[in-house]
């Protein structure tokens, strides 16, 4: 079958390429777990990239990065995703940022859909704090897909929103504040 015309626009799954030897750094989560990651994977996070750049500019040895707002389990998921996508062109994720129709590659679809909803929430929130555009795109699209074709009642169930009579009636205070 001939390749689809727009296939070039879609993010291609990462393929290992011959490259320079990996520069491994330690990453500490908010609950004290220490994980190891390739710097190229960490550069997918704009927040961590800025920190790493700061160390490099001052020629300080980068021994350990502290991620204060992400717990160990979630950080491990984040690093797993980043490791898989460390070879990706960051421009692809940027280009998809404001798109309605985001194509999720099969590895990412499998990776995100196998997670329980609570973990998916933590992962997306962590990606938001670490500013990882690609993971945010795929995470949000996965949430949208989970609501596909659902009625209001089903969405209320899925998103954990109380029934109307359980919500505060005042206009200033919302039920989840």
């Amino acid at each position: 079958m001939a390749p689809k015309k727009n296939s070039a626009k879609r993010p291609q799954p990462s393929t290992p390429k011959p490259s320079a030897p990996a520069r491994i750094v330690k990453v500490q989560s908010s609950d004290g777990h220490i994980l190891q990651a390739d710097v190229r994977a960490l550069l997918l996070s704009s927040t961590l990239a800025a920190t790493i750049k700061g160390y490099d500019d001052e020629n300080k040895p980068l021994e350990k990065l502290e991620v204060n707002n992400v717990v160990g389990f979630t950080l491990k998921l984040v690093l797993e995703w980043c490791e898989k996508h460390k070879e990706d062109d960051p421009a692809i994720a940027q280009a998809e940022k404001d798109k309605k129709n985001i194509f999720i590659p099969s590895w990412d679809r499998h990776f995100l859909t196998k997670l329980p909803m609570g973990n998916l929430f933590d992962l997306i929130t962590a990606a938001y704090h670490l500013d990882i555009t690609g993971l945010i795109n795929y995470g949000c699209k996965t949430v949208a897909n989970s609501a596909k074709g659902k009625s209001t009642e089903e969405m209320r169930e899925l998103f954990g929103i109380p029934e109307p009579w359980e919500q505060p009636s005042t206009s200033t205070a919302t039920w989840d504040d």
Binding site: F121, Y128, K141, R156, F159, T174
Partner: protein, 486 residues
Amino acid sequence: MTESRFPFPRLPNDLCSKVLKTMDPHEIIAYTFTSKKALSLVKSLRLPLRRATTKIGWPSVRLVFRDITVVFKYKMGKNDEVMTTLDDIPVNVDVELMRFNPIPESKAFIWSNQGKNIGEWVQHLSSMFRCECYEAIFHIFNTRLYIQSLRNTLPKLRRIAINCLINEPNNQEIQSIENILRAFLPDVKCVRLHRVPLLPFRNLSIHHIGMTNLRELILEPDQNLKFDDLSTLNVGSCTIFITQFSVQSLSHSFQRRHYQWFNLFVCLLNSSISFTFSMLKNDKELKKLDDTPVNAYVEITKFQPIDESQRFTWSNHQTTLGKCIRILCSIFRYEAYKADFHMRMTQYEIQSIRNTFPKLRTICIVGALDEQEEHEVVYAQKLLRVFLPDVENVRLRRVPLQENLSLQHIGMSNLKSLNLFYSRNLKIDDLVTFNVEKYVNRTDKISPLDLNRFFKLRTKGCNPKLNTDQSLISFPYFHSRPDIID
């Protein structure tokens, strides 16, 4: 919280917005019913909507997005009854989604009524998107609508259509129609009224509606419309679907506002109007322009959006044929009038023809198939003399050319085009002398020798004005390819 729940409201607003933007419209709408915060979040996105059409009566809301259309149909009772007020609560809501891109598909869902009445549904759906084309269709049948609730419920409408389902609406229905018009006329650009009674004493006159600077007014009255009422209209275009009106009243109205009514009529139709006057009664021919036709068959042919035609029969309104022609020709600003005269059928007085017809751009005289009588030939000659000074195009079919009506005489009159079809007594010497830009001659009267002589003279410079690209002489026995001059 169970693991099957995604605590969506706890996501940062940026992420919530991002998730919502990747959802389909009906899913976004379903989400807005979950909480007030959800609605306010969706409102803040200001998602674009191309058109929103609300129907009152058999209530529905149609939302047209870029490549998706979502229709909400409210089921009113088991028998799908007509709603009477905006406070009526639907049993449930049929939601239909139509997607056009990348592949056409449609889906249907049944939603609960969300504990809302029709007014609240309409208000909810109208409030969440950024749309500049809100429109509403009101089917009036036992309907009770009040100004304040209409204003509170519906956004500023660009178009409204009011359809009276019964011929003689009761007082309550008329009051509802009045309320609709009073609520929306200040902002609305297009009004369509179908079978709405026009009651001057109840703020329901054409005069009242037409004063409001509308861009478009479409009227489908179930009664005779007085064209005098239309003379006060202040609308960009007006479409009137009518089956009967008098030619005289039409003319009277048009003559009052000549130029504007011309535009009005064109916008009305995108079409052609054909008036065919019936001239035969008891096998008696009407040969004078002062005679009165039996009646007129009017055919209106619309070309857009689809070809369709309507036919009406008008009475003669005691108007003579000449007067009808004068009226119809005086209505529009037009400079390319054309008239066909069938020599055997029409023997009108030359003076009355001169007085009746405007300046013609094209004249076509058609002779009978058999041999013409002397008076017919004389009549054709007279006709040509009347119109030749102004006419630009002459078509002669089977018209005998005699000494006092030679082709030379016609061809000297600075015509743009001259078409001859089987003209009798055609002389090649006449053909050489004419002064026309375009010449078409279909004949069997020119011998090959004569034609050869004509070509030779042509190469020497005769007929300098002739545009040879547009001219041709064809012979009936050369069917396959007409001979182009030069």
